[in-house]
Amino acid sequence: MAENTGIKDVVRDENLVYKKTSVLTDKVMHYCPGCGHGTAHRLIAEVIEEMEIQSGTIGVTPVGCAVLMYNYLDIDMQEAAHGRAPAVATAIKRLMPDKYVFTYQGDGDLAAIGTAETIHACNRGENIAIFFINNGIYGMTGGQMAPTTLLGMKSSTSPYGRDVHMMGNPLKMTELVAQLPGTWYVTRQAVHTPASVRKAKKAIRQAFENQKLKKGLSLVEIVSNCNSGWKMSPVDSNKWMAENMFPFYPPGDIKLEGKLVGKE
């Protein structure tokens, strides 16, 4: 009978269905509670474990909240100057073409300080994967306005909301690089619900698989929350993200196999 089956009968090694991957170290992450960075880290680690490429993967992290990512992933990692991760990853990939190389960048890094490096790496079609975490704010330095901050969105340097006349328009970096001929796979995902996490994992897996093809660069944008920067609880920030970020940053594939989705 089901009623007689206690927890002790269920919690056994043969019944294990989900466990933290061994590619993630046991260190407690320094991220704020509920931050999407942790989920994105775990997805990358799970994909590395599934593809069995732990010894053949090199990650590049520039400055941002994810600057300490090398503490959490048990793979080879290289630190880069602020925004310069695609340039460093280009060098690593060209010197070691058999390795899987990825960069992990935030929006202040990829879309502001490293715009030139990002666009030129995408345009050259380097065989690397870029994971772009977009939370519309400079999270690490205290919630300042980033290029991706939405119009009307409050941040510590735009306390009355972003004004288009004074601060310009938000930058859709992912759509921008999708126009370039060097990109092979460009997609936007999120990690706020179980379904979106599953989709994001597939996209990350695809980005790693694409490196075998040597056809061009793969960019996966992950729209994430920044509950500390947005001054909300984690659950509220995920709701706010779904209501306000997704109309401007709609999740979905933008470029598949070198062709823009929806355009022949």
Binding site: M1, A2, T5, I7, D9, V10, V11, R12, N15, L16, V17, Y18, K19, K20, T21, L24, V28, M29, Y31, C32, P33, G34, C35, G36, H37, G38, T39, R42, V191, H192, T193, P194, V197, R198, S233, P234, V235, N238
Partner: protein, 98 residues
Amino acid sequence: MAGIPIFEKHNTNKYNILYSDTMAKPKGSIIVDRERCKGCEICVPACPTGVISLAREVNSKGYHFSYMANPDACTGCTNCAIVCPDGVITVYRKKVST
């Protein structure tokens, strides 16, 4: 109709699934790493059967860790574990025939 889920509208279950008596039911359980849990509460709305809630007690960092408040309802669907930013949840599942 052995083993076929029956769909009914009035059921309070989120997915409106009732299992017939002879169906093998999944019985699940989660183990939360209390010291690593940061009490962000993201797993609570992710659970389709409302198993998880935050504890009154706190861990050594002062966070209210999550725990199984309603262990009988757990089906081991792993939704809580895959949204957990800190990867603190381990999931077990066993098929129990009634």
